[in-house]
């Protein structure tokens, strides 16, 4: 499969890697990336073990240990709520990238789709104030999901109609969303709060999602988390148990063969991108209604959820469970290295947040290098034959 000029598609290669490695590959990759991260910490003159321990505690994952009690336990709970809030967004955006991969599409546009979803949530949440709470929430979530789907659908439609590569079009759509958002909530923009700060109107408090764990005012965990879990189930069922999912995977493996079997490749591309955008748009709505409530220009320009989602999808091998655990890993890393949560006496948080970026980069680089493992494997076999 690796020989010859017709290079395997991304989806084809990931499927191959799944057969070859199962869960071992991603786990080894993550461990290797963390190891190199530890060496970086060591080179800076800090102790890698106590640094990782502090990051782990900062992420609140120590809440899972029954022997953590008292004030340490309630502190850990607050931290874990933060981690799970990030996990929620990462799961949904990770699914947006994964569903594309399964169809042979590289959806780099998770960021733009997420942003468009959050703009629509802000718009609906801060207007139509006469609607009653639950209806208002449903309207905001549905509209954001559809907006994300439509936005990603542009890239799918362009690919289907003109063959424009989805990587290029989704990158462009990302930046268009960033600047359109900067205009919307910036000075004089349509969604800007009347004052002089470049920040949007807040959504009505009746549209806030219910916080079921922790304090509603201190960003406790809202019911959006269950949307993410439901998203994982929908994703798994959609891909493995429906005709649409079958067509989607068939196109991912080999578009020519799928066309030969009578499937419409163009339509599948558009549908897949729309599904991807729906996941990311939903993530935007849940973040806005769950804990952000209003967006500033800097929030929009520095948001990176959609990009980290690429690492999530790649590490999670586009499987529902894999996406969940990868999201948890990156959510924990991001929370654990934040200025608020990392014990600054152990390691400087401003360094640690860059460490997270390095680990992300290494994960993406080495997961992509599954071929390296296969290459070494083949070489070993060839050597054995030679002997």
């Amino acid at each position: 499969m690796l020989e010859g000029e017709d290079a395997p598609t991304v989806a084809g290669r990931l499927a191959l890697a799944q057969r070859a490695g199962g869960v071992a590959g991603p786990v080894l990759t993550a461990a290797f990336a963390l190891l190199i991260g530890g060496l970086v910490v060591l080179a800076t003159g800090a102790n890698p073990l106590s640094t990782y321990r502090a990051i782990f505690d900062g992420s609140g994952l120590n809440w899972l240990f029954p022997w953590v009690s008292g004030s340490a336990r309630s502190f850990a709970a607050t931290n874990l709520q933060q981690t799970l809030l990030l996990t929620t967004a990462l799961v949904l955006c990770g699914l947006a990238v994964s569903v594309g991969f399964r169809c042979g599409l590289f959806n780099i546009g998770g960021q733009g789709q997420y942003l468009v979803g959050s703009f629509v949530a802000i718009w609906i949440g801060s207007s139509f104030l006469r609607l009653n709470g639950p209806l208002h929430i449903v309207l905001a979530i549905v509209a954001s999901t559809l907006a994300g789907a439509a936005y990603a659908g542009i890239a799918g439609l362009l690919k289907a109609l003109t063959g424009a590569h989805e990587v290029i079009s989704t990158i462009m759509l990302n930046w268009i969303a960033v600047w359109a958002g900067s205009w919307l909530v910036g000075q004089g923009g349509a969604l800007q709060n009347g004052g002089s700060t470049p920040i949007s109107n807040p959504v009505a408090s009746s549209t806030h999602l219910h916080v079921f764990w922790g304090s509603p005012v201190l960003q406790g965990l809202d019911v959006g988390f269950f949307f993410a879990l439901a998203g994982l189930v929908v994703y798994a069922v959609l891909l493995n148990r429906t005709t649409l999912g079958f067509e989607l995977r068939a196109v991912g493996f080999n578009p020519e063969a799928a066309r030969y079997a009578g499937m419409s490749v163009a339509r599948t591309y558009v549908t897949t991108m729309a599904i991807a955008g729906a996941f990311a748009g939903l993530a935007g709505a849940i973040d806005v209604l769950g804990w952000e409530f209003q967006l500033g220009v800097t929030d929009i320009q520095t948001s990176e959820i959609g990009f980290i989602a690429i690492a999530v999808a790649v590490l999670g091998r586009n499987r529902a469970l894999g996406v969940f655990f990868a999201s948890l890993l990156f959510g924990a890393l991001l929370t654990g290295t934040s200025t608020r949560n990392l014990d600054a006496t152990v390691f400087r948080p401003d360094l640690a947040s860059n460490l997270t970026l390095i680990i992300q980069g290494l994960v993406v680089l080495f997961v992509g290098a599954d071929v390296l493992v296969l290459w070494l494997w083949n070489r070993r076999r060839r050597l054995r034959v030679a002997i």
Partner: protein
């Protein structure tokens, strides 16, 4: 037919230009009439079956009329302050130069068949190591060389994964972007801490070339430009000659169009691609170093802020040709310059930010093929396995 199409584009541009200083007509009718005439030209050409010139004229007419009417509302005094053509041209060159370097870098890489969305990361690498080297050695020239060296190194790492291990090139590029962001951010915080980079001495800054201090139009526009701006013109000319007029350029292009055939006539596909990718890293790093030690005179985390992606857009908008990419870089540089200047006008500041999105919208239109399709090199993004 083409002449009428071009006349339409000209009329559209004229519609906007007449509303700006020095003419600055305040009658909204003028841009409306001229823009309408441009649209008529476009429609007529379209009706005769010529899509490209027709659509171009139509777009120019609509844009000219729209921008022109907006400009007539802006108030003469404000516009006169903001739209000073000589200053705008100087600002356009300042904004376009980093894009030009990275776009030309991307041109070498993509013409040889390797997609490079890591331009952003390589630029950022150059920006950091440029200022680091310059501060350490006390000389901007050595700093620039160090930047080029590290940019080449980052590209070499990417090339190994993309060419030798045949990882997916988009995944590899994404990894490079993450890594560059993390590594430069980490080093920046570790070395310079919260104080930021020290202010640069004269010998540590890339000097401006002072031709004239005069107040004439040419003196204002070109009198005091940075050395690297002038060098970018030379690099551009050299690139054109190398790519289209030398055997070396023919090799690069043949490897990107049909590697199997190139291999059959004895061209080393691997070596050519390695050289092209490393060169792209070096050129992107020059663009980054221009930003840090030529223009801003400091470094900040993620200071390239997506310029690598605009360069990628310029490359695609310019159809993978040196002059086209340069033209696109100038256009995008102009739109940033205009956005910065218009941001100072009270009623315009909110809309000015939308000019930042212009490069991406134009590129999206270009890849969609509305105004002449942008078609990439045939083998771009496909790894090559020698048989």
């Amino acid at each position: 037919m083409n002449v009428i199409g071009k006349a339409g584009v000209g009329l559209g541009a004229l519609a906007f230009w007449l509303t700006l200083p020095p003419v600055a007509t305040s009658a909204a009718l003028v841009p409306l009439l001229l823009g309408g005439a441009a649209c008529l030209c476009g429609a007529w050409v379209l009706a005769h079956g010529r899509r490209r010139p027709g659509a171009a004229a139509l777009a120019a007419g609509l844009a000219g009329a729209g921008l022109g009417v907006l400009a007539t509302h802006a108030g003469r005094g404000n516009l006169g302050d903001a739209v000073v053509w000589s200053a705008l041209i100087a600002a356009m060159l300042v904004n376009a130069t980093p894009l030009t370097y990275a776009a030309i870098g991307g041109l070498f890489s993509e013409r040889s068949g390797v997609v490079n969305i890591g331009l952003e990361g390589m630029m950022l690498t150059g920006a950091f190591f440029g200022i680091w080297g310059s501060v350490e050695t006390g000389s901007w020239a050595l700093g620039l060389l160090i930047a080029i060296g590290f940019g080449g190194l980052a590209a070499l790492a990417y090339a190994f994964f993309a060419i030798h291990l045949r990882t997916d090139q988009i995944i590899g590029g994404t990894a490079i972007n993450f890594l560059a962001l993390g590594v430069t951010g980490y080093l920046f915080v570790d070395i310079y801490g919260t104080a930021g980079t020290p202010s640069l001495h004269g010998s540590e800054q890339i000097p401006d070339v002072t031709i004239s201090h005069g107040s004439g139009f040419l003196a204002q526009a070109f009198g005091q430009l940075n050395l690297l701006v002038w060098i970018s013109f030379a690099v551009l000319a050299l690139t054109y000659v190398v790519v289209f007029r030398t055997p070396l350029g023919l090799r690069i292009r043949s490897v990107g169009e049909h590697p199997r055939a190139a291999d059959a006539v004895g061209i080393s596909v691997y070596k050519t691609r390695y050289a092209a990718v490393v060169l792209s890293g070096m050129l992107s790093a020059m663009g980054g170093a221009y930003l840090s030690i030529g223009f801003v005179h400091s470094f900040n985390q993620n200071m390239t802020e997506g310029r690598g992606f605009i360069a990628l857009a310029a490359l695609i908008f310019g159809r993978w040709r040196p002059v086209g990419a340069f033209g696109a870089a100038l256009l995008f540089g102009f739109s940033s310059a205009l956005a910065q200047r218009l941001g100072t006008i009270p009623n315009w500041s909110s809309y000015a930010v939308l000019f930042q999105a212009l490069p991406y919208v134009l590129t999206l239109i270009a890849v969609a093929g509305v105004v002449g399709r942008s078609i990439p090199p045939a083998a771009v993004g496909r790894p090559f396995a020698k048989q």
